[in-house]
């Protein structure tokens, strides 16, 4: 059943919240981030910080230094873009805090540019000890939250406003740092994360009908990235297309290109947002900004045919 990963996160947080170490922090967006579910169940471990995200991040760091496992949630653009506070009070301090950015990317649609988290992965990825996770469906999100309870060190969890179809089956087990191969193929490898995993799958269907065999990788852990899985894709497929609902600079595509640049190489095409976004439906925007399945398929065709 299609579900927004922010909702899956909220449900999982209530469940892991049975553990007394777990806290939730909100910046007046609890109904949007679904942390209101935690508040209803565990009110004594919920801190409402108001519209003051820098302080919320610092309070989370303080809770972590006292041995708690705080999940501080807001929109990706409002929490992760407080990079300097995260760098000092969470990253450099090595506070065991989890920062959860919902409403990732242009996929939020109508609200437009001011609410779109489009640079958050770049900022979080640059912090040496920060893990960066972006699950692609309900099951993966639930398991990622469960994983984060005992993860050691700061972590950033990126979540969607829009609903995402189920990709992973009953047997799925989330493995931190390990990309999931969703389709086999050796002509080209399509790499997505979060919402864009679904675009990569759509493209693979299109390409399959044309006789192009596309491998699809779901990179739910953007940092530390699965270098082995990406190098294997490069060796087997020689062409890689990455697609992300994030700026083309510093996100999934950059992370993949960094791995490839230090390997035997492959052609890498990076699809992502090059702008601040605007209002519209998620589908319209994905197509207009070049990250829908159609664009992924076209990039793959060009890569396979060797055209620039």
């Amino acid at each position: 059943m299609a579900k927004a990963t922010r909702e899956s996160f909220g449900e999982a947080l209530v469940r892991v919240g049975e553990d007394e170490r777990i806290w939730a922090l909100d910046g007046d967006l609890m109904k949007s981030t679904y942390t209101h579910l935690f508040r209803e169940k565990h009110p004594d471990r919920f801190v409402e910080c108001g519209i003051a995200e820098k302080n919320m991040i610092g309070v989370a760091a303080g809770l972590a230094l006292a041995g708690k496992i705080p999940f501080a949630a807001s929109f990706a653009c409002f929490i992760a873009n407080r990079v300097e506070v995260i760098r000092m009070s969470v990253g450099y301090t090595d506070a065991n805090a989890r920062l959860c950015g919902t409403h990732a990317g242009i996929g939020i649609g109508d609200d437009g540019a001011s609410q779109m988290g489009l640079e958050d992965v770049a900022g979080m990825r640059a912090l040496p000890n920060m893990a960066v996770l972006q699950p692609c469906d309900d099951r993966e999100t639930q398991q990622a939250v469960e994983y984060l309870v005992d993860h050691r060190g700061p972590a950033y969890l990126r979540l969607t406003r829009q609903k995402l179809d189920d990709v992973n089956g009953d047997a799925y087990r989330f493995e931190f740092g390990k990309a999931v191969q969703l389709r086999e193929g050796n002509d080209v490898c399509l790499i997505g994360t979060g919402a864009t995993v679904h675009e990569a799958l759509r493209a693979a269907d299109e390409l399959d009908a044309e006789g192009i065999s596309a491998r699809v990788l779901n990179v739910h852990t953007i940092k530390p990235i699965d270098a082995d899985g990406i190098k294997a894709a490069a060796a087997d497929c020689r062409r890689i297309v990455t697609v992300e609902d994030h700026n083309v600079a510093g996100g999934l595509g950059s992370a993949v290109a960094e791995v490839i640049a230090q390997s035997n190489g492959a052609r890498v095409t990076i699809l992502g947002v090059r702008d601040y976004g605007q209002s519209g439906s998620a589908e319209e925007l994905y197509d207009a900004y070049g990250i829908s399945g159609r664009h992924v398929a076209e990039a793959a065709r060009r890569a396979v045919s060797g055209s620039p």
Binding site: D44, R45, V47, C49, G50, A52, K54, N55, I57, G58, V59, A60, A61, G62, L63, A64, L65, A66, G67, K68, P70, E84, V85, R87, M88, S89, Y92, T93, D94
Partner: protein, 300 residues
């Protein structure tokens, strides 16, 4: 060496803490001279309060810095950490020999607090305006756990201009975390100019009161007032306490006092000798100033 005995009569305690503050200033100047850089003004202004905290008020096990029930001290004005290092060496949490390595490559004594490198440091600070938020988080956790430990956070008047301080102050007041004590080292001068000329924070006491804090104003160079204010904070049960500590930047070295020039510049060896002579009572403030001015003439 450990903290001062807790059964001292008040007069003896005050006398000893006053002397401890003087010794901290002396160590501070020695460290900065050896380092060749650092922040004398804001370290010297905090000496009495740091002495009152580390030598008396804070519940610490000096040889067990990770003791779970220890009081937490967060230095939000992170650039003033040398005087804290001096206190940590004084109580034996770190070896005294470390003090000579301040700001050197691979030293545990980084230019700003680093909890991974230096025992006794609770949070990494130095990007101003962030410490109080961390202190609020600690206080919230301790209250929830009904833990015995308390949280102290020293801030500067310059960093009080930062919005995050007020975000944290508003939340702490709203939550009524009475196990939290903010200490504002109101030394009147920031990096470039007097605080009043950069962006006046007054009436800062009223601002904290409006945010539901208990506020106690003191002369921060009177150790007795520091001790009394810290004691009083423990009697407040429904809100956090702010100790508004009126101090003088560069206190104790006459030619550094209230001078923005000595915010972030270490004294040279010659200047350091003059400063130490004054702090050690070998020369008067007047003589100190004369010798300092003579050095400046020589230098030009």
């Amino acid at each position: 060496m450990s903290q001062l005995a807790n059964d001292l009569d008040r007069d003896t305690l005050i006398k000893e803490l006053t002397e401890e503050a003087r010794q901290l200033r002396i160590e501070d100047i020695k460290m900065l001279v050896a380092a060749g850089s650092g922040h004398p003004g804001g370290t010297l202004s905090a000496a009495e309060m740091i002495a009152a905290l580390y030598l008396s008020k804070l519940r610490l096990k000096p040889d067990e810095p990770g003791w779970p029930d220890r009081d937490r001290f967060i230095l939000s004005k992170g650039h003033c950490v040398p005087i804290v290092y001096a206190a940590l060496a004084r109580i034996g949490t770190i070896p005294k020999e470390w003090l000579g390595t301040l700001r050197k490559f691979d030293s545990p004594l980084q230019g700003h607090p680093d909890r991974q490198r230096c025992p006794g440091i609770e949070a990494n600070t130095g990007s101003l305006g962030q410490g109080l938020s961390i202190a609020v988080g600690l206080a919230v956790a301790a209250r929830h756990d009904q833990a015995p430990w308390r949280v102290y956070c020293m801030m500067g008047d310059g960093e009080t201009q930062s919005g995050q301080i007020w975000e944290a102050a508003m939340l702490a007041g709203r939550l009524g975390v009475s196990n939290l004590v903010g200490i504002l080292d109101n030394n009147q001068v920031q990096q470039s100019l007097p605080v009043k000329e950069i962006l006046d924070i007054d009436p800062v006491a009223q601002k904290y009161r409006d945010f539901n804090w208990h506020v106690r104003e003191i002369d921060g160079h009177d150790v007795g007032q520091c001790v009394d204010a810290l004691d009083e904070a423990e009697t407040v049960t429904d809100r956090p306490t702010l100790i508004l500590s009126h101090t003088i930047k560069g206190k104790g070295v006459s030619w550094m006092e209230l001078s923005a020039d000595w915010h972030g510049k270490a004294p040279s060896e010659e200047e350091g000798r003059v400063a130490l002579d004054e702090l050690e009572g070998k020369i008067s403030a007047e003589e100190s100033r004369k010798r300092f001015e003579a050095l400046q003439k020589e230098g030009t």
